[in-house]
């Protein structure tokens, strides 16, 4: 028997998530269907006509197909950064958890510093210019990796500590070199954390607005979040196009989440009961 309080609790939770998640999303979709005049009123009204296709075409073709370039750039940026983050974060977490040396406290301090100290933009640009990486996609990838590495390492290190050391040793006896131990034994066992990392970091990097704004100037280098500026200006804003754009660039993170959703749940339970 369900108690009355749990039913009420469920209804409250439904209402809250409806208000927080569904209403804004519905607003975005509705706006994408409106024409410019109706959208400018910024109200929660039913679209008077079907303008989605026109809006889509305009958004995609604006400024010489900028959105397409932006999608390509953002995809490269996200995939490359997340791949590097997962590999390096897991490696550092593995070594930190397994090898106790007198350098560990220093390394841990640096990781914490990376989490706590806000990055300074101008010196970073100056450094990037010095090594000719300013305004390039690979420079941007390195910046994203650097900014997000501490968090990734901390997630991985805690999980590596739960993997018995006997497994490393069994692999070593079986003839594994250090890289084999890591890639064939440890990394597959880290899958639950890896999924968490992929989801958190890829959504974060794909949605990153400020860092590409600072470090990746130029039309050819635009990322999806920067395309939002195409439809806003000081005096006029084309809200129908802006919201169509938002709808378009919200889709990829949504797909990532839907795709990994099951795996996240599976990963959580796999970590809870170790065989």
């Amino acid at each position: 028997m369900k108690s009355r309080s749990s039913v009420i609790g469920g209804i409250v939770a439904l209402v809250v998530s409806f208000v927080v998640f569904v209403i804004p999303f519905a607003f975005i979709i509705l706006m994408a269907f409106k024409d410019r005049r109706q959208a400018a009123r910024l109200d929660f009204s039913w679209p008077t006509g079907f303008h989605l296709w026109d809006n889509l075409v305009t958004v995609v073709t604006t400024r010489n197909w900028m959105l397409i370039t932006a999608f390509i750039n953002s995809t490269i940026l996200t995939v490359a950064s997340v791949t590097l983050l997962v590999v390096f974060g897991a490696m550092v977490g593995f070594v930190l958890a397994r090898r106790k040396t007198k350098w560990n406290p220093l390394v841990e301090f640096l990781i914490l510093a990376g989490l706590m100290i806000p990055p300074a933009v101008v010196p970073t640009i100056w450094l990037l210019q010095g090594i000719s990486l300013f305004g390039t996609l690979h420079g941007m990838i390195l910046v994203e990796v650097a900014y997000n590495l501490p968090f990734t390492i901390i997630l991985y290190r805690a999980f590596v500590a739960t993997i018995p050391k006997d497994l490393d040793e069994a692999a070593i006896i079986d003839g594994a070199r250090p890289m084999d131990v890591f890639f064939r034994v440890i990394l597959p066992l880290l899958w639950p954390v890896t999924v968490t990392n992929i989801v958190v970091q890829s959504v974060g990097i794909f949605n990153d607005f400020t860092n590409p704004l600072y470090y990746l100037p130029g039309n050819a280098n635009a990322t999806v979040q920067l395309t939002l500026y195409n439809f806003q200006s000081q005096f006029t804003t084309a809200y129908n196009l802006l919201f169509t754009n938002i709808a378009l660039i919200t889709i990829p993170p949504l797909i990532v989440f839907l795709f990994f959703n099951r795996q996240i749940v599976a990963g959580m339970t796999a970590g809870a009961v170790k065989g």
Binding site: E169, D174, R184
Partner: protein
């Protein structure tokens, strides 16, 4: 063909010595058991042979090769861990084949070897399962399979049976023994369970405090322990000890007595003993028998009647406790006085340096 030889092996953790100079030689095909109490360094020694721990000083030869600095994979060894250490993400087939895959063995040969191993260990039906779907005994089998598939010269077992229940442990013990005969490889086995040690070993190495106390066959260790530690460690229940004084020496026959023992004469190596010396007498619980004129008299404490034998704890006049295992069912009552005689052929004297004074074996 690979025997092992350890020469003056030392291990320090920082300033703390753990292994204090071990000399040992192991012949090809021997089954050697390292036994000792927790923390005696037996596992550390095994891990040094495996290459998982550095050797601080000394020489380790496997076969003819000096192996101090050789990587584990090049030592020709395989190891079975206490926790099994199966790779949870791989099925049994891949667990067993992991080492072969790393060695880049061709696929067909790998498949043949894995199936051959599965056949030896009777686990052909388990090949598709993940470790989490196996019982303790099956996991142990897979762990052993992972070792034998690589056909190593030397097998290392680190307390492989201590996570199994009692019945399974007996089965697996027999299987390991059978496997040893079948493969004819050198096996080194670490355990703190002396039953495992006694039943499996060709040669037992008793360790305590990082020092080898005695090396010998199981029966030799039981009958002719080199010192008080080995005498106390091997045999169950534990040997009884009591301090005594030398009364008389006639050739190799020494008569001793003490607070708890009245005039007991036994054969011993009397060369360095003189009347009045303080010695320790050791008698195994099984070597005591009730006798009205017995030289050991005490008050009965706890009585455990097992049907085929009776285990009695006896409080002696000096208030030390002895155990006696008496044949058959003995209807004894708590608090009653009991006189026992010791089998003087099997009782052992120990000198002040705790070394045993067993007469030299004839010939």
């Amino acid at each position: 063909m690979a025997g092992l030889s350890l020469k003056s092996i030392h291990k320090h953790y920082g300033a703390l010595p753990v292994i204090k100079g071990v000399d040992l030689s192991i012949d090809h095909g021997e089954f050697v058991v390292f036994v000792g109490p927790s923390g005696c360094g037996k596992s550390t020694l095994l891990r040094m042979i495996a290459g998982l721990e550095d050797i601080t000083s000394g020489e380790l030869h496997i076969g003819e090769k000096l192996c101090n600095e050789v990587e584990p994979r090049d030592r020709g060894i395989a190891m079975v861990f206490q926790s099994y250490a199966l790779y949870p993400h791989l099925n049994v087939y891949d667990n067993v084949g992991f080492g072969l895959k790393l060695a880049k063995t061709p696929k067909q040969e790998r498949d043949r070897k894995i199936r051959e191993t599965a056949r030896i260990l009777k686990m052909e039906n388990l090949l598709d399962r993940k470790p989490a779907q196996l019982s303790g005994g099956q996991r142990q089998r897979v762990a052993i399979g992972r070792a034998i598939v690589r056909q190593p010269e030397v097998f290392l077992f680190d307390e492989p049976l201590s996570n199994l229940d009692a019945a399974l442990r007996v089965d697996m013990r027999m299987e390991i023994s059978k496997l040893h005969k079948q493969l004819g490889a050198t096996m080194i086995y670490v355990t703190h369970d002396q039953v495992e040690a006694m039943t499996l070993a060709d040669k037992i190495v008793v360790l305590d405090g990082g020092v080898v106390q005695q090396v010998g066959s199981p029966i030799e260790l039981y009958q002719r322990p080199a010192n008080l530690f080995v005498a106390g460690f091997i045999g169950s229940p534990k040997m009884n000890f009591v301090p005594v004084q030398v009364n008389r020496i006639e050739g190799s026959r020494i008569t001793v007595s003490g607070q708890d023992v009245i005039n007991l004469t036994l054969e011993a190596d009397a060369s360095a003993v003189k009347p009045g010396d303080e010695l320790t007498l050791g008698v195994r619980p099984h070597d005591l028998a009730p006798a009205s004129s017995g030289s050991i008299v005490g008050r009965v404490g706890l009585v455990e009647r097992l049907g085929n034998e009776t285990i009695v704890s006896l409080e002696l006049p000096s208030s030390s406790n002895w155990l006696a295992v008496l044949d058959g069912d003995q209807p004894l009552n708590r608090g009653e006085s009991l006189a026992l005689s010791a089998d003087t052929n099997k009782a052992i004297l120990f000198d002040a340096n705790v070394n045993s004074l067993i007469p030299k074996a004839p010939g």
